[in-house]
C-alpha cells in the first residue's frame, strides 16, 4: 500500500473505528456458523441496510451471496471478503477520475448539488489537484444566493493561488459564468470550475436556473460544460437516489463526488446508485482541508462497507 493510500484508508476508517461498526459486530457473531444460512444472510442484509445500501439493494446483494456461496464454511474474515467482493463488483465499473480533456480550452466543470453537500469545498480541493498537475485553473463564483458564499470561494482561491471570477451577492449567476468562460478562453486557462448555489432537486425554479447556467456555459464553447459533477453528502440516505435521478434529468449530471466519508457514514447508497445509474464516481471527500480529496477506489469503499 502506498503512503497516500494508507493515509486515505486511515481517514476513511477513522470514524468507523471509533463508533461501533454494525457489520463487524454482526459478523463476529457469525464466525462459528458453518455456511451462509438464512439467519446469516439476514444479518448481512441488515448490516448492509445499516450502511445505507437501501433495503432493495441490500436484498439483491443478499440474493447473490445466497446463490453463489452455499456449501463452504466461512470464518468472519471470509464472509467480510465475499461481501466486499460482491460490492466491489458493482462499484468497480464506475470508478473514473475527472480528467482535463476539453479542447479548445477551457475544460469546464460545473459543480452542483443540494444545499450544504460540500460543493464549494470540493471545488477548492479539485482546483488544488489540477494545479498540482500543472493545469491552469480558474474558479467561477456562481453561488450568488447564499450569504458569503462568494467570500468563501474567494478565500479558497486565494489560499490555492488561482484566479476567481465573481459578481455581487444577489447578482445573476448566468452572467458570471458567461464572463468566466470568456475570460478563461481569452487567457487560455485549462480548467474552469463553476460553483453553484445549493438547491433541492424538487424545486423546479431552481432547477430551471441550473439549466440556464448550463446553456450560458455552452454559448461560447458548445462542448461546455464538459463535466457536470453532482456532489453528494455521505450522510444522506436513500434520498440521494432521487437527487441523482432528478439532477441527471434536468441538469445532465456526468459524474459524482461523495463528501464527508471521514465520519461514520458509509455512503452505501453509492452501491445502489452505481447499479441504477452507472454514472462515474470521480472522487471522495474525507475532510475539510485541501488535501482531503481522494480518487474513488471501489475496493476501498467496498471494504469499508463490509467492515
Amino acid at each position: 500500500m502506498s503512503e497516500e493510500a494508507q493515509g486515505w484508508g486511515a481517514k476513511l476508517f477513522s470514524g468507523l473505528r471509533k463508533t461501533s461498526s454494525r457489520l463487524s459486530e454482526n459478523l463476529s457473531a457469525l464466525v462459528t456458523k458453518s455456511n451462509l444460512d438464512a439467519a446469516t444472510l439476514d444479518e448481512i442484509e441488515d448490516a448492509l441496510i445499516a450502511s445505507d445500501l437501501g433495503p432493495a439493494m441490500a436484498h439483491r446483494v443478499r440474493e447473490r451471496l445466497a446463490t453463489t456461496r452455499q456449501e463452504r464454511g466461512l470464518d468472519e474474515a471470509g464472509i467480510r471478503a465475499i461481501v466486499a467482493e460482491e460490492i466491489e463488483q458493482v462499484l468497480a465499473p464506475v470508478a473514473r477520475p475527472l480528467e482535463v480533456t476539453g479542447f479548445p480550452r477551457p475544460h469546464v466543470i460545473l459543480v452542483i448539488g443540494v444545499n450544504g453537500s460540500g460543493k464549494t469545498t470540493t471545488i477548492a480541493k479539485l482546483a488544488r489537484r489540477f494545479q498540482e498537475e500543472d493545469y491552469g485553473v480558474m474558479l467561477a463564483a456562481g453561488d450568488t444566493f447564499r450569504a458569503a458564499a462568494i467570500g468563501q470561494l474567494k478565500v479558497w482561491a486565494e489560499r490555492i493561488g488561482v484566479p476567481i471570477i465573481s459578481g455581487p451577492e444577489g447578482g445573476d449567476p448566468a452572467g458570471i459564468v458567461f464572463d468566466a468562460v470568456k475570460k478563461a478562453t481569452e487567457i487560455g486557462t485549462d480548467v474552469l470550475i463553476v460553483d453553484t448555489a445549493g438547491r433541492l432537486h424538487n424545486k423546479r425554479e431552481l432547477m430551471d436556473e441550473l439549466a440556464k447556467i448550463r446553456r450560458v456555459l455552452g454559448r461560447l464553447n458548445p462542448a461546455a460544460p464538459h463535466d457536470v459533477v453532482l456532489v453528494l453528502d455521505a450522510t444522506t440516505g436513500q434520498n440521494a437516489l432521487a437527487q441523482i435521478s432528478t439532477f441527471q434529468d434536468l441538469a445532465g449530471v456526468t459524474g459524482l463526488v461523495m463528501t464527508k466519508l471521514d465520519g461514520t457514514a458509509r455512503g452505501g447508497v453509492l452501491v445502489a446508485a452505481a447499479e441504477q445509474f452507472r454514472l462515474p464516481i470521480h472522487a471522495i471527500g474525507v475532510g475539510e482541508t485541501l488535501d482531503d480529496l481522494r480518487p474513488f477506489d471501489a475496493g476501498e469503499l467496498a471494504r469499508a462497507i463490509a467492515g
Partner: protein
C-alpha cells in the same frame, strides 16, 4: 423511484381495511411492509426494529383480532405509535432564565446551523420582540463568520463584531459579556460543523458549552440523513446535554425517517423544521401532522391552509363538499389545475395530498411542468359538459376530437384522463377515511377514534365549511404565520 412512505403504508392498510377479520399472519405481513417502508424512508435500523416490535405486539393482541374493524385498529396503533415516537406535543423554545438566554446550535458540517441561527433570531425578534445577539464561533470554515454577519444584516439582528484569530471559547465569553452589558434577551451561538468522531472538536464544543451554559442546546440535523442518524444522535447526546433537535431541509422530498430516528435516539423533542434556504423558512414541528403524512393521509392541514390563502371561500366550500363526497370530475380537475398554478405550481403540492405522488409521477413521466398545466386546462376546455361530468365516456372518437380542439396529441389526452383517475381515486380514499371532516376532528385533538366510529366516518352532508374547518384547526395552528408557504 419507490413510493413514498405514505403511499406504501396506504397500500398495506388499504388491503387490511378490506378485510373483515385480521389474522396474526396479516399483521405480520403488514408489518414487514411497514418495516421496508420505514427503511426506505431512512429510519435507522435499530429504531425500525424497536418500532416494529412494539407495534406488532400491540396489533397482534386478541382484542384486535376479535374486533369488528381490525384493519382500522392496526392503522390506529401504527399511527399512535408514530405520534408517540415523534413526540406528542409541539415543543417550544425554553427561554425562561435570567437574560441573556443562550441558545447554542451544534451539528455536522453543512447541516444548516448558521442559516437556522439566523432564522430563529429573526423569529424571536419579530414575534416575541426579543432583543437578540448572534455570534459565530466557527473559526474553521472560510467566511463562516462573515456568513452570519451578512445574515444579521439581512434580518436586522445584531451580530458580535468579528475579531480575527479569536478562538471559540473566547468568542463565547466575549459574546456573553456583550449580551449582558448591552441588555440582550437572547444570545445565539452558531458553532462550526463537526464530526461526532472528531475528538478535538467535540471537546471544544463541550468547553464552549461549559463557558456559555446555554438553556437550549439544539442539534441541527439534515432531514435527508440516512442510517448514520443514530451514530450522530447518540454521539452528540453523549457529549453535550441536548435540549432539542432541528430538522432542516424539510422542504425537500425526504421521507422523514431522520425525524423518527432523531427523536428516538436523543429523547429530545424536535423543536423546529427548516423549510427553505430563505430566512422565513422555519416552522414549528408538528408531530401529528408528520405522523399523518407518514401514514398516507397527506399533509391535509397544510394543504387546507395554503388553499385558504388562494381560494375564495365559495370555491373552497364547493371543493370541500365534493372532496367530502369522494366526488371528483373534470370540472374539479380543471379548478384544481388553476388552483395549482396559483398555489405555486406542481412542486409546491408534492406529497401534500394522498395519491398526489402517483399523479405527480404520471406528470413527471409525461415531462410535465407548470406550462403543461395550461395545456391540460385547454384539453378540459375542449370537452363537452357531459364529458367533463362523466369522463369515463371518453371513447376513442371523443378523444380525437378533444385532442384536435386543444391542439394536442391523443396521448396527452390519455395522460390527463389517467391523472384524473388517480386523483379521483385519492379523493375516494379520503372519503373512506372520513373526509376532511374526519381529518379535521383528528387534527383538532379528537384522535383517530372520531373516524373509526361510524362505518364511513363523517357523512358528506356534515362536512364543515372551509371556514369552520379552519376554526376547528385554529387551536393547533393559531401560531402559524399566514405567509407560511410563501417564499
Amino acid at each position: 423511484m419507490f413510493d413514498s412512505l405514505s403511499d406504501r403504508l396506504g397500500k398495506v392498510f388499504d388491503r387490511l381495511r378490506g378485510r373483515g377479520a385480521l389474522s396474526e399472519a396479516d399483521v405480520r405481513e403488514a408489518m414487514r411492509e411497514v418495516r421496508t417502508a420505514l427503511l426506505e424512508a431512512d429510519v435507522a435500523l435499530p429504531v425500525v426494529r424497536s418500532f416494529i416490535d412494539s407495534v406488532t405486539a400491540k396489533a397482534v393482541g386478541a382484542q384486535v383480532l376479535r374486533s369488528v374493524t381490525p384493519g382500522q385498529q392496526v392503522v390506529k396503533i401504527v399511527h399512535d405509535a408514530l405520534v408517540e415516537m415523534l413526540g406528542a406535543e409541539t415543543a417550544e423554545l425554553n427561554l425562561a432564565t435570567t437574560p441573556p438566554a443562550v441558545i447554542m446550535l451544534v451539528g455536522l458540517q453543512g447541516s444548516g446551523k448558521t442559516t437556522t441561527t439566523a432564522k430563529i433570531a429573526r423569529r424571536l425578534t419579530a414575534r416575541e420582540h426579543k432583543r437578540v445577539l448572534m455570534a459565530s464561533l466557527d473559526v474553521n470554515r472560510p467566511a463562516a463568520q462573515e456568513q452570519l454577519a451578512v445574515l444579521g444584516e439581512q434580518t436586522g439582528v445584531a451580530t458580535l463584531p468579528i475579531i480575527t484569530g479569536q478562538q471559540p471559547v473566547d468568542i463565547a465569553r466575549r459574546a456573553l459579556q456583550a449580551a449582558k452589558l448591552q441588555g440582550f434577551d437572547v444570545l445565539m451561538l452558531d458553532t462550526a460543523g463537526r464530526l461526532h468522531v472528531d475528538d478535538a472538536l467535540m471537546s471544544e464544543m463541550q468547553a464552549v458549552h461549559r463557558e456559555a451554559a446555554p438553556v437550549e442546546t439544539l442539534l441541527v440535523v439534515d432531514s435527508l440523513t440516512g442510517q448514520d442518524a443514530v451514530n450522530v444522535a447518540s454521539a452528540f447526546t453523549r457529549q453535550v446535554p441536548l435540549t432539542g433537535v432541528i430538522l432542516t431541509r424539510m422542504d425537500g422530498d425526504a421521507r422523514g425517517g431522520a425525524a423518527l430516528s432523531m427523536r428516538y435516539v436523543t429523547g429530545q423533542p424536535i423543536k423546529f423544521a427548516g423549510t427553505g434556504e430563505k430566512l422565513d423558512g422555519l416552522e414549528e414541528f408538528h408531530p401529528q401532522r408528520v405522523a399523518g403524512r407518514i401514514l398516507g393521509m397527506g399533509d391535509i392541514v397544510s394543504l387546507v391552509e395554503r388553499a385558504a390563502e388562494t381560494i375564495d371561500a365559495e370555491d373552497a366550500e364547493k371543493m370541500a363538499a365534493k372532496m367530502a363526497k369522494g366526488e371528483f370530475d373534470m370540472n374539479d380537475l380543471k379548478a384544481q389545475l388553476q388552483q395549482m398554478r396559483k398555489m405555486g405550481g406542481l412542486g409546491a403540492l408534492a406529497g401534500m395530498i394522498p395519491g398526489m405522488k402517483k399523479a405527480q409521477a404520471a406528470m413527471a413521466q409525461s415531462g410535465m411542468d407548470d406550462k403543461v398545466l395550461i395545456h391540460m386546462e385547454a384539453i378540459i376546455g375542449s370537452m363537452t359538459p357531459k364529458e367533463r361530468a362523466k369522463p369515463e365516456i371518453m371513447a376513442a372518437k371523443r378523444k380525437i376530437r378533444v385532442a384536435k380542439g386543444a391542439g394536442v396529441t391523443v396521448s396527452e389526452v390519455n395522460k390527463l384522463l389517467k391523472m384524473h383517475m388517480e386523483m379521483a381515486g385519492a379523493m375516494k380514499k379520503l372519503k373512506k377515511m372520513g373526509g376532511l371532516g374526519g381529518l379535521a376532528k383528528m387534527f383538532g385533538g379528537g384522535g383517530l377514534e372520531s373516524m373509526m366510529g361510524g362505518a364511513g366516518g363523517t357523512p358528506g352532508g356534515a362536512m364543515p365549511s372551509m371556514a369552520d374547518l379552519q376554526k376547528q384547526l385554529g387551536g393547533q395552528l393559531g401560531n402559524i404565520p399566514p405567509n407560511l408557504f410563501k417564499k
